[in-house]
Symmetry: C2
Subunit: 407 residues, 2 copies
């Protein structure tokens, strides 16, 4: 019997967690069991959920509110259609509202996973496009773009491109607007990218923000691709995972998709409720086909505990899934001094992603990008940043002076 | 300048909440302000967010963790497209991940609201279809339907219909399946509804669960309507509000839509994070066009604090919005003894919704439905349930004996 699993953390000072787990396993599948006649039980057996594990954590002298259990339940695939909405409603629909319960992990059956082609490009595919295989990638974020016209946008794009970044992404709060509709943004920015490439010799991906009514997203994406778009940015959680899945599995949408974590904080930070960051931004983003996944780093301004960050990364690259790996993009408050930390924690398969850390550089945007390029080069060679900075890299030196080095 | 507003609760033991609010108002709109040259400020003024209110709650001798502020910020409509994903990303995208912050209320500008026709039927329209204007409606929920074939489904439907309920809804975990695809469910159930109507004289709405890939939902809905469906059930939060909005504003989907709250518990229960129940299940469900909205009641098994329930109801029926009112459906663990409480809190414009309280009745499903019909009649006449039960209503008496009366 093919089954998906869900692991929850339940907090309760007194509950019989085993009983509670059984009631979830029955209640979220066949509804009732003990009352069923024997013949009915036989036909229902294949639909019945099963408690696989109950680990009660009850330290001696635990204060009120500290007692919890990690519970894993298996749900027969036969009960739900092979899509993320059905899976989520099955494993966390009603019970999300029933006391202190957090969904901490999913386990996908082979059968379920086969419904998901996953990322079209993934880490290797993005590297192939850019022709960069041996170092972390560098992404720059448009800043303060609301109200800018196409010329102003082009100007900001060019400065970032000349800095030598590999990817540039739209601000996630830039929606369809009259000044810079997506096909126009793509057109002016990619022209600027070409101009910059003549100077830098570097290829560049520009992730344009895909917005608007759900039913128009595919045509918007194709319009953008028609105008030359070579990547897309998408606010997945405001639309739903299934929308990303449909976009990523459309053969005509043949560019990498970067998933933005906007709204994720409504789900993951509470210990008692919601969905863990590794399910939300790790397992489900990859399943739905995100080639790159942004999430708050443990280093910068908007922070997430490091263990959760590592759990996201593990899910994005885990070999347990047959699909391509998604590129982790720890974000927010990143400055060059943090680069060695990022590489230590994530290895080479990571995107160093900066907004303020590039645009806010004391010597300007171009210098801001170069400081990161230098920091990555130093970290790759295990040269201390301060030493590398002194060694003829004034942009890195200015960044370290402004924001500090490794912490 | 037309603007939408968002009210947040921020917890922090030390923060300068005014400064924090200013940083949100600037950061989530124009990005930076103090650094901008004067000329740029003039052109950017119309895009700039504004802090409208900061109420700091800092009781003397407050324990750590108790200090908070309620902050209201106005966001110019010109910054975002007129859809719910854009609004949510604008007001709660990045900042949902930035410390203890909960989105507690939205304020919609006239301009924004004009993009949303709202519920096609609403309370009045549902009453017109059913021909019932003077009493609460009664809804019954299919139970334990996974694995049932069409005959078994029909049988369960008929028993509920004969009990005299006004609406019957699918279990939200019943997805597209080979045994009972939506058009087959609709066909057999509505035939049973007709048969029952000959006995009861009552019209009946059957809300069939709309599931499957996002892009197929409209055609699924039309297939169901073609087969005679007179209502739909939809797991809104697993698909996104915009999908509901697109369904509800399609002229061919001319039946009431009931919004199920599956997954809502991942957002609303924490005091520190997420989105309040009144935004999630009140404001946004109505805006997106739900005719009926289910949510956990404060009475039953899966509970929500009463103040939150009343806040949902207020948003569903508020005259501040120009659109039709959505019907509140407080759910979970409802039994006949609770009917007077429900009417006291919600008035007449409410759906009394029961699953176990009907199917689990000691005298069977039909008696379970009749017990509710009796409880509603008694409560409408302000007759104590116990008295009405003794007065020739054995089904109500059995229910009160089993589950108790008003608490």
């Amino acid at each position: 019997m093919s089954r998906c699993t869900a692991t929850y953390r339940l907090y309760d000072d007194k509950a019989d967690f085993r009983k509670k787990a059984e009631s979830i396993a029955v209640g979220m599948t066949v509804g009732s069991w003990t009352e069923l006649p024997q013949a009915k039980r036989e036909s229902m057996q294949k639909h019945l959920g099963e408690v696989l594990q109950v680990d009660v954590h009850e330290p001696e002298g635990a204060a009120p509110g500290e007692r919890y259990a990690d519970v894993t339940i298996a749900y027969p695939d036969i009960n739900f259609s092979r899509d993320i909405p059905a899976l989520l409603v099955t494993v966390f629909g009603k019970i999300s509202m029933d006391g202190k319960i957090k969904l901490n992990r999913l386990g996908f059956s082979d059968h379920f996973v086969q419904g998901f082609p996953g990322p079209k490009f993934g880490i290797a595919g993005i590297r192939d496009i850019l022709g960069v295989h041996d170092r972390p990638l560098l992404m720059s974020i448009f800043k303060s773009v609301i109200g800018l016209n196409a010329d102003e946008l082009r100007e900001q794009f060019l400065r970032q491109a000349l800095a030598g970044v590999d990817l540039i992404k739209d601000d996630e709060i830039l929606f369809e607007n009259e000044l810079t509709p997506i096909e126009k943004r793509v057109e002016v920015c990619l022209k600027a990218a070409e101009a910059a490439q003549k100077e830098t010799g570097k290829k560049l991906l520009y992730a344009a923000n895909l917005t608007g009514p759900t039913s128009s997203l595919k045509s918007q994406a194709k319009k953008a691709i028609g105008a030359g778009a070579n990547a897309l940015l998408f606010n997945v959680l405001s639309y739903g995972y299934d929308v990303l899945h449909e976009l990523s599995s459309d053969p005509e949408i043949n560019v990498p998709i970067a998933a933005h974590p906007a709204l994720a904080g409504a789900f993951y930070p509470s210990p008692h409720y919601g969905i863990s960051a590794s399910v939300l931004l790790g397992q489900l983003m990859r399943l739905a086909g995100a080639d790159l996944v942004l999430f708050p780093s443990p280093y910068g301004s908007v922070t997430m505990p490091k263990a959760e960050n590592m759990a996201i990364r593990d899910e994005l690259i885990s070999r347990e899934l047959p699909m391509k790996a998604s590129m982790p993009v720890p974000s927010a408050g990143i400055h060059p001094g943090l680069v060695p930390l990022i590489l230590r924690d994530f290895g080479t398969d990571v995107v160093v992603n900066a907004g303020g850390g590039i645009h806010g550089h004391p010597m300007g945007t171009e210098a801001g990008g170069r400081a990161f390029v230098q920091a990555i080069a130093a970290a790759q060679q295990s040269i201390p940043l301060a030493q590398y900075a002194e060694d003829g890299h004034p942009e890195l030196k200015a960044a370290l002076d402004a924001w500090g080095g490794e912490r």
